[in-house]
């Protein structure tokens, strides 16, 4: 394998990793905080993708001159729409299942089936895609022989900004402090006056919003159909579990490791065998580190 191909492989791995990372961060903070497995997380991502699609359609219809800027509006709208939906979901639905994690899993799966059918009825079963803004088409060629598509560079940058933003939010704001407090010890946090159910709702909304951005990013590299979310959900869970819940850095590293080995192995063997190898490796690692690769040692 020569250097150019290696560089391109790494780059492709990183861009595959963006969607996975945004999905997994959302899942990880929700799971870490509330112990809830949200099987409808993939459908929230699809919602973000469809919002992006609608925004692009609206721009091309009403403001074709501003088409180049639609993406930024779409990112904001996708985040707003999915986090609002996430907030409603938490308040009206997930909240009632907090003490029954396995039941939550089944109930949110039911929700995901309903959402898929809604998408199918509204947008049709076929794939929809968005036009790429002009300034994102083309490729950057740092040295001869290596071509890095601009849209992928953009989504990597966007993901980095979002991930760092979430990290800062959780580690250096009052609100983040409350989230971490509730994650570590819920009864004690409630006792010192933190409104835990408000923290739950907002965190769930944030996780959902991140899935929405993931959906927006996804439209840059693929076409959306009603089943798009389901393709990512199991992978995202594996990333979360592999990285160890409650550890944002762990989630990021495990997402990167899984995406990189996926693209590298795909280069060496068939796509399906690459996936099987990775899944089995992850399960093997989990056997030796049941709390995830990057879990801190605790006495709980």
């Amino acid at each position: 394998m020569n250097l150019e191909i290696a560089a391109m492989q790494v780059f492709n791995g990183v861009s595959l990793f963006t969607v996975l990372l945004l999905m997994s961060i959302g899942l990880a903070i929700v799971f870490g905080l509330m112990g809830v497995i949200n099987m409808a997380h993939g459908e929230l991502m699809a919602l973000g993708a469809y919002v992006t699609y609608l925004t692009a359609a609206a721009f091309s219809r009403f403001a074709p001159g501003w088409m180049d800027a639609y993406l930024f509006v779409a990112i904001a709208l996708a985040f707003a729409a999915t986090s609002a939906f996430g907030w409603l979901l938490e308040r009206g639905f997930v909240r009632h299942f907090y003490n029954r994690p396995l039941d939550t899993l089944l109930a949110t799966w039911g929700l995901s089936l309903i959402l898929q059918q809604v998408y199918r009825s509204v947008f049709g079963p076929q794939e929809v895609s968005v036009p790429l803004p002009l300034w994102l088409s083309g490729a950057w060629e740092p040295v001869a022989g290596i071509q890095l598509p601009l849209n992928r560079i953009f989504i990597i940058g966007l993901t980095a900004v979002v991930a760092v933003g979430v990290y800062v939010l959780l580690t250096s704001t009052r609100w983040g402090l409350r989230v971490r407090a509730v994650t570590q010890n819920r009864p004690m946090s409630a006792a010192v006056g933190i409104d835990t159910s408000r923290v739950d709702a907002l965190t769930f909304a944030l996780g959902a919003g991140l899935a929405g951005i993931a959906g927006c990013v996804f439209t840059m590299i693929g076409s959306t159909n009603p089943g798009t979310g389901q393709l990512y959900i199991v992978d995202s869970f594996i990333v979360v579990v592999f990285g160890g819940v409650q550890s944002l850095v762990g989630t990021a590293l495990s997402g990167l490791a899984i995406a990189q080995s996926q693209t590298t192995l795909e280069y060496l063997m068939s796509g399906s065998m690459a996936r099987v190898t990775i899944l089995l490796l992850v399960i093997l690692v989990l056997y030796f580190r049941p709390n995830g690769l990057f879990a801190r040692k605790t006495r709980s």
């Binding site: 497995i37 009632h96 299942f97 039911g110 309903i114 898929q116 059918q117 009825s121 099987v276």
Partner: protein, 341 residues
């Protein structure tokens, strides 16, 4: 008290057996065949009741064992159908000799032995290792779910060995006897119902033995059972293996009833759907699981034919509704009717 509960559970089983015996009288061969297909899922559902309802272990990967049983049975039938040549999908992928692991499936005896032994053995080894590490709850659900995904990807990818996405199809005889005609369907249905009846009776017996008591204790407070000197990992792994055996037997009957087996019966969606059969019937009721599988299955056939748009809405609402409003399922409902409360 125990005798009373066992008696109640056994009466439920008897009622279901009567129902199963009546079905051939009121259904045409096509509908009966459909019922037979869903009875195959009833085996899985009974396993889920043991494992989830009584053991507190939720596996979202029962499709793995269902698929193993189904593929083993289908391969035997396919080898018979294509003898003396190789199965057609193998020659399409230019596989020239039968791979070693398919060799035992020339004989019905070996096939049945492997259907009964291989899935429980794998299930036991895997789950004992996991339970010994005290991994459980949602982690176990996610790991089994990803194993189901792994197996699907593997089956689809290895087209030459497994028939790929199309699965194994196109077999019509077992030991030279026809399996697609109406009378053959009736015989297969009756055999399946008989095996299922026996399974239900044995499972109810098991649940009301000392073993069942320990199992419930593990579900409710595993630490205490462990401190009392029980090796809880062994017991949970045993139940998981038992559920795997039931799934595998169900898969074998599925292959016989439907005349094909494909990765769709193994995957993530199918595996999670199997849980709803048990949940609808009642996660604490062996007889309820069978009714749940039949009912949801027949509704699925009806709705997805008549109103394809509605089916997913219905199934989704079923997941939510059962979990939110009737955690004991239909069996709990029947019980309340029976006791007049």
């Amino acid at each position: 008290m125990s005798d009373f509960l066992r008696g109640r559970a056994m009466r439920g089983v008897l009622a279901v057996l009567v129902l199963l015996a009546l079905l051939p009288l009121v259904m045409d061969p096509f509908r009966l065949n459909l019922s037979g297909k869903y009875l195959a899922f009833a085996f899985v559902a009974v396993g889920i009741v043991l494992m989830w309802g009584y053991g507190g272990v939720l596996s979202l990967g029962q499709g793995i064992f269902f698929g193993l049983g189904g593929y083993m049975m289908a391969m035997f039938l396919k080898l018979e159908a294509s003898a003396p040549d190789l199965p057609d999908f193998m020659s399409w992928s230019s596989v020239e000799t039968l791979p070693l692991w398919w060799q035992p499936f020339h004989s019905l005896g070996w096939t049945l032995v492997l259907i009964a032994l291989l899935p429980p053995l794998l299930a036991y080894l895997f789950s004992y290792a996991v339970f010994r590490k005290r991994v459980g709850g949602v982690y176990f659900a996610i790991v089994t779910l990803s194993l189901a995904l792994t197996l699907t990807v593997l089956i689809v990818g290895q087209q030459g060995d497994t028939g790929g996405a199309n699965g194994i199809t196109d077999f019509r005889t077992i030991l030279g006897r026809d399996i697609v005609g109406d009378s053959a369907k009736l015989v297969i249905y009756l055999a399946e119902a008989a095996v299922l009846g026996l399974t239900m009776i044995l499972c109810v017996g098991l649940l009301h033995s000392r073993f069942g008591k320990v199992l419930i204790a593990i579900r409710d407070r595993e630490d205490r059972v462990r401190f009392s000197g029980y090796n809880t990992a062994h017991i949970k792994a045993f139940v998981f293996a038992l559920a795997a055996l039931l799934s595998s037997v169900g898969g074998a009957f599925y292959a016989l009833q439907v005349g094909m087996v494909s990765p769709n019966a193994v995957g993530v969606v199918a595996s999670i759907e199997m849980v709803i059969y048990a949940a609808v019937g009642g996660r604490l009721s062996v007889a309820g699981a069978v009714v749940g599988a039949l009912l949801v299955g027949l509704l699925k056939s009806y709705l997805s034919e008549a109103f394809p748009e509605v089916w997913l809405y219905f199934l989704g609402s079923l997941f939510i509704g059962v979990v939110a409003f009737m955690p004991q399922g239909l069996a709990g409902f029947a019980l309340r009717l029976g006791t007049g409360r």
